[in-house]
């Protein structure tokens, strides 16, 4: 399988014990506390960024972000693993480098958790006063405010956006049964429910739109490919939860990668269009039995499992001849998780975040004879997502071997510094590492170098597949200076 994928995670941040604090200042302090930032501090190149272009063919009004050089450096930390660590609004954010497959993506997302953890540790050490930072990889403050987790998939431009949307909506609305991170209560006032499947479902109000901060849409139309716009589209999926479980993350991006490949290659899933997707996404999130049915446009009612099975069957047929081990593994896991959900979701206490968290909380309530409204339960919901290993409840489960995982700590450590080898992230990350003083700026689609005569030279990376180790590895290795590198690249 070769599918270019990257995720962006906005983290919740709190500085406890210092009275009133400002989230922007806290985020900036945290990001600048990461000990392995490049000391040369290259800029982030905003030149090619335009989040206001709409895939439906127009440009929205609004201001494009263009911070001055000093502020740019405070906000942005391009990483030698090819990713970006930065401040976005009032949150610290980590974008993985472009990865070649879903398994690699999970690795780089986990590396991001460790980057945040180290930042918290160093921030708490270097700050003055009694207060200390906590950082959460979740999506809600439980008071109606959400911060995002976005998946990005490189898609062939020849597939129409309308087709992508119509094919994806039923899939995205129903996949939460195995991708939800679980949430105690609701962000909708006057709606008392003890627990629901998804962190994010409460926040989606419209079907398709450009917004990400208000009136959030199930399908986001941002058309900012960070690549050659004639050949590529970057599908920006904003409807998912940030996960802690490696298996949940793997299933989330893995099934999505398969569905997108099918659509690109012309296979369609029909007969599953939802009558009211915005309502269904909330209804499905509230059904812990995973059995209730939602209405389809053609008049019948189907369960989320039944709708997912349509996509799974299409994928099994489409990839029947495909021997790629990751494709085979995702298909197998997808079928198994649907079978287990149908039989009894409680079988998934080692794999799927919303079940893991639910089971943990119920065990705790049983032991302490307390109920859903107990503030310790709300605290557990939050602390499940704490990125600090000795505080985060997910990590406690990991240590006790209560959850399934496939990554080793050594691999996660290496991925904090070294880029993936199969995409342009390799060029970006390796140049940042080898020529830290000579990189003037970087972005998804460019690396800009300072050269001897004071001229800044730009290397465009408009094809995310190129700039990989196979193509540029020997060149970067051979070049002793940036001038040599540029001349070898030109030759």
């Amino acid at each position: 399988m070769k599918k270019i994928i990257g995720t962006e995670t906005e983290f919740g941040i709190v500085l406890k014990g210092e009275g009133r604090t400002d989230a922007v200042t806290s985020s900036m302090f945290l990001v600048n506390s990461y000990p392995y930032s490049l000391s040369s501090a290259p800029l982030w190149d905003y030149e090619n960024e335009n989040p206001l272009l709409d895939a439906r063919g127009f440009e929205a009004d609004g201001e494009r972000e263009r911070p001055g050089a000093e502020y740019n450096k405070l906000l942005n930390k391009p990483l030698s693993n090819g990713g970006r660590y930065y401040v976005d609004g009032a949150h610290p954010e980590y974008s993985t480098p472009e990865c070649s497959d879903p398994k690699e993506l999970v690795l780089y997302e986990k590396a991001g958790e460790r980057i945040l953890e180290l930042s918290v540790e160093f921030a708490n050490r270097r700050k003055q006063g009694e207060g200390r930072f906590s950082v959460y990889k979740n999506n809600t403050d439980h008071k109606g405010n959400s911060y995002g987790y976005h998946e990005n998939y490189l898609v062939d431009r020849s597939v129409s956006f309308e087709k992508l949307s119509s094919q994806l909506i039923p899939f995205l609305v129903t996949r939460q049964i195995f991708t939800g991170s679980g949430k105690v209560g609701s962000d909708v006032r006057s709606d008392f429910i003890p627990y629901q499947i998804s962190q994010r479902a409460d926040f989606f109000e419209v079907l398709i739109d450009l917004n990400t901060m208000v009136k959030r849409p199930i399908i986001n139309t941002r058309d900012e490919p960070h690549a050659d716009p004639k050949r590529f589209r970057r599908l920006h999926v904003i409807v998912g939860d940030a996960n802690m479980s490696e298996i949940t993350t793997y299933l989330k991006v893995g099934t999505m990668a398969l569905v997108l490949t099918m659509i690109e290659e012309g296979r369609e899933v029909s007969g599953v269009e939802l009558d009211d997707a915005v309502r269904s996404i909330k209804d499905i999130s509230r059904d812990l039995t995973v059995k209730e049915k939602v209405r389809l446009s053609r008049g019948v009612a189907w369960s989320a499992i039944e709708i997912q099975r349509e996509y799974l069957s299409a994928a099994e047929a489409h990839f029947a001849q495909c021997a790629d081990p990751i494709t085979r593994e995702i298909l197998e896991r997808w079928r198994k998780v649907l079978d287990q959900l149908e039989d009894d979701p409680r079988q998934l206490t080692r794999e799927i975040d919303w079940v893991i968290k639910l089971d943990l909380i119920e065990s705790y309530m049983q032991r302490h004879e307390c109920g859903w409204k107990d503030s310790r339960v709300a605290m557990m919901d939050l602390q499940y997502h704490d990125v600090v290993s000795d505080k985060g409840l997910y990590y406690a489960l990991e240590r006790g071997n209560h959850v399934e995982r496939f990554l080793t700590p050594e691999a996660i450590l290496a991925a904090q510094a070294a880029p993936p080898e199969g995409t342009r992230a390799y060029f970006r990350g390796t140049c940042l590492k080898k020529f830290p003083k000579d990189v003037y700026a970087a972005s998804w689609a460019t690396v800009l170098f300072n050269t001897d005569n004071g001229v800044i030279k730009k290397v465009p990376l408009m094809d995310p597949f190129k700039g990989d180790k196979e193509r540029v590895g020997p060149i970067i290795e051979k070049a002793k200076t940036v001038e040599e590198l540029l001349s070898l690249l030109a030759g």
């Binding site: 709190v14 989230a23 009032a90 089971d359 503030s375």
Partner: protein
């Protein structure tokens, strides 16, 4: 996790009781699961933020994205 403990319990209910009692492996496994679970719950009690009520109340974020 508790599910595993519950799974063990369920087994006891469905299997013949004397089988379980006479099978030291099963008893040992159940005991281990219970111990693991107790250990986990103790750990949570140790690490859970103090003053949970206040902490959760003060956890307010700006909407992002």
């Amino acid at each position: 996790m508790s599910k595993q403990v519950r799974k063990g319990d369920k087994k006891k209910d469905t299997d013949k009781k004397e089988d379980v009692a006479s099978n030291p492996e099963v008893t040992e496994k159940g005991k281990k699961l219970k111990e693991d679970m107790d250990k986990l719950m103790d750990e949570i009690d140790d690490v859970l933020e103090e003053n949970a009520e206040e902490f959760v109340k003060n956890y307010v974020q700006k909407g992002g994205e």
